[in-house]
Amino acid sequence: MSGLTPGVKRHTLFRGRTWPYHLALTATAIVIAFPLLYAALIATQTNTEIFSFQFTPGSALASNFDAVWNGRDFAGAMWNSTVQTFLVTIGKTVLSLLAGLAFVYFKFRGKWIVFFLVLVTLMMPTEVMILAMFRLVSGFGWQDTMAAIVVPFLASATGAFLFRQHFANLPSELLEASQIDGASPVQFLTKVLIPLSWNVIAALFVIQFVYTWNMFLWPSLIIRDETKQVSQVALQTLTNIDGALTYGPLMLAAIIASIPPAIVFLLMQKPFMSGFAIGQQK
């Protein structure tokens, strides 16, 4: 991240000793991590241990895990989330690539109307029309189906514009060269554009993965069958086990439900950042 500017010069911005900063940063990192660390502690304890405010790892990690994973079939919810997230993320990327291709490499009548139609959706969040959407999708008979939590989210103005912008910044000679080779639009996309777009694809992948995995309101409305539910909403059922509030399993499930987006985000941090840098230039 400091590749562009030499570290020495960057340092002149803040002269003086560095250890107070390291100390302050470490403290900040601990404060930010505290809710998760505390949840991890609770996840190992029984209710008795929690109420006695024991600040060492408890004895119930295995039994809490069993209650969550098998007792409440949280494994099923995690699987549903995984299927939903991959379908949405992949579908969105493909549709956005196709839309970007059409916007940049084709001239056609009515393009500006289509462009405007897509642009306006940037100010139409699903949440403000959620009641009508609930009625509409229920009318399709899609309640308790995977289609209900995948299909409405397959198109993305953000994605289409991200690729449009990226393609527009690529040299136009690319197209001429492949036209001489007689490449079709799909060949041009897969052989030329996609290999040049991995950073943007990765950035979009991370954003969409985290967004889709963390979706809560829509699945909580349209999915009422517990076996079809996604992980974020399934957490709700864990607030009550055997008629009482058991904190340990709930915290454990919250941590488990956070692992996939956290892994994707941490592994893809670098391409994510550079993809953003591309998106920011204009």
């Binding site: 405010f53 993305s156 639009p185 974020q232």
Partner: protein, 459 residues
């Protein structure tokens, strides 16, 4: 009364044409007038002139006039686009859509449409259609799952507002006057003078007056009206709380992290990871911390400081503060991420110059760093606002469920409570339209302030 509105539209149409065209022809004035009348007439006619029938109130008329003005305005904007195309002065649409200048595929006309069709079909079926249905639903009384519905015109809206039409007109006009007044003062005052300081303060108060005017326009309840004022107030408090906490905290941490040389990327990872945490999980984690019987917060306050903290779900202030804290914590990582990237672009030469001039750390921050970051700050302001409007739902659902006495029931939470839990689709849709209006207002403000931008928020 309807005719009166149409006459006004017929006069204002040509005025719009006159303002936006150089020396327009008589025919264009005529077209402008006709288009304005048509635009104004569409909604009242589609609704069967219901707002002007016997037994309707001044507030009904007012809402109908508002819709007529909106319809006329949209129609005139569309007309102006056509005029510009005819004159050849349209803004370059190829540049807008990012099309390459040379070449392009020369295949059948249907090829680009085929490529765009999946995106278009989904946007139309799952965004445009429900958006339109939200508007039609908002004029009906209909129960969830029931096939029957009754047209109720604007009553789902009028019951959210105060009943005096004159006040309903006066409050927003006063707020608009305050904004224009402050702008005028600002344009007349030279930088660095007392007058400029006064104008700056007036600008802040003018902005606040918008919030106050809206507060005064919503009904406090009673007399068959819905008490929407508290919902509005909760939404404002919680939204501003989350955005302020998330952004000030994010900038402070990013500024701190930016200083370190070694271990920079490790710190960055340790600071931004909550980006991947969901609003629901944030709710669960803080639900645990603040739990009145098992949570560490109550325990520590009691045993270490001897403070008996009330149950946060029964105390309005604590409930709102805990929602703000949980949501602010979750959005913090996102803000740190962008501020760290933004700090890379701060001009070092300027900072060095300021160092030589003997500027203090605080002065350097205020005079150089903060202005350099303003594009990022603006981008984050919009994404944080969207987050605080919508994503906060899951956090509230896990922590307080709107308690105590609806003090943490923000607009989106209220929409679900009314529309789904009470099954009152029409009333819920009317509240959705209000939230939609808020989103559109933020977007227009964003476009006006910064030109076109790409949003990276979500969908």
């Amino acid at each position: 009364m309807l005719i009166l509105g149409l006459v006004v539209a017929a006069i204002l149409g040509p005025l719009y044409v006159w303002r936006n065209n150089d020396d327009p022809s008589a025919m264009r004035y005529g077209i402008g007038s006709a288009v304005a009348v048509a635009g104004a007439a569409v909604t009242p006619l589609a609704m069967g002139r219901c707002a002007f029938l016997e037994g309707t109130s001044g507030v009904d008329h007012l809402l109908a006039y508002g819709l007529m003005a909106g319809g006329a305005w949209l129609a005139l904007i569309a007309l102006q686009l056509l005029f510009d195309r005819a004159d050849g002065t349209e803004s370059d649409s190829a540049g807008m859509t990012g099309e390459i200048r040379t070449g392009g595929f020369r295949l059948g006309w249907w090829v680009p449409w085929l490529l765009l069709s999946p995106t278009l079909i989904i946007l139309i079926v799952f965004l445009y259609l429900p958006a339109i249905q939200t508007f039609t639903l908002s004029t009906k009384l209909t129960k969830l799952g029931a096939p029957k519905s009754v047209d109720v015109c604007f009553s789902n809206f009028t019951e959210l507002l105060i009943t005096d039409p004159w006040k309903l007109v006066a409050y927003p006009l006063l707020a608009i006057a305050a904004i224009y007044g402050a702008r005028f003062w600002l344009s007349r005052s030279a930088p660095g003078t007392w007058s400029r300081k006064g104008a700056d303060i007036a600008t802040v108060f003018a902005m606040l007056s918008v919030f106050v005017a809206l507060y005064a326009m919503f009904s406090p309840g009673g007399g068959g009206q819905v008490a929407y004022r508290p919902v509005y107030l909760n939404t404002v408090i919680i939204t501003i709380g989350i955005v302020a906490f998330g952004m000030i905290g994010g900038l402070a941490v990013a500024y701190l992290a930016f200083r370190t040389i070694r271990g920079g990327s490790v710190y960055r990872t340790l600071l931004i990871w909550p980006y991947a945490i969901s609003p629901a999980v944030a709710g669960v984690l803080f639900f645990m911390i603040f739990d009145p019987t098992a949570g560490i917060f109550t325990y520590v306050m009691d045993t270490w400081f001897g403070i008996d903290v009330p149950n946060y779900r029964e105390n309005a202030f604590l409930a709102q503060a805990s929602i703000i804290l949980a949501s602010g914590w979750k959005i913090l990582g996102y803000n740190i991420l962008f501020y760290l990237a933004g700090l890379q672009t701060v001009s070092l030469d300027q900072v060095e110059a300021a160092l030589i001039d003997g500027a203090s750390t605080w002065q350097r921050f205020m005079k150089i760093v903060l202005p350099a970051l303003s594009p990022i700050t603006f981008f984050l302001l919009v994404t944080n606002l969207t987050y605080a409007f919508f994503e906060v739902y899951a956090t509230i659902d896990f922590m307080t469920k709107g308690a105590p006495a609806g003090k943490t029931s923000v607009a989106i939470y209220e929409i679900i409570r009314v529309g789904v839990n009470n099954g009152d689709l029409g009333r819920g849709a009317a509240q959705s339209v209000l939230l939609f209006a808020a989103v559109i207002a933020v977007t227009i403000w964003q476009f006006q302030t910064s030109g076109r931008r790409v949003s990276y928020g979500g969908s």
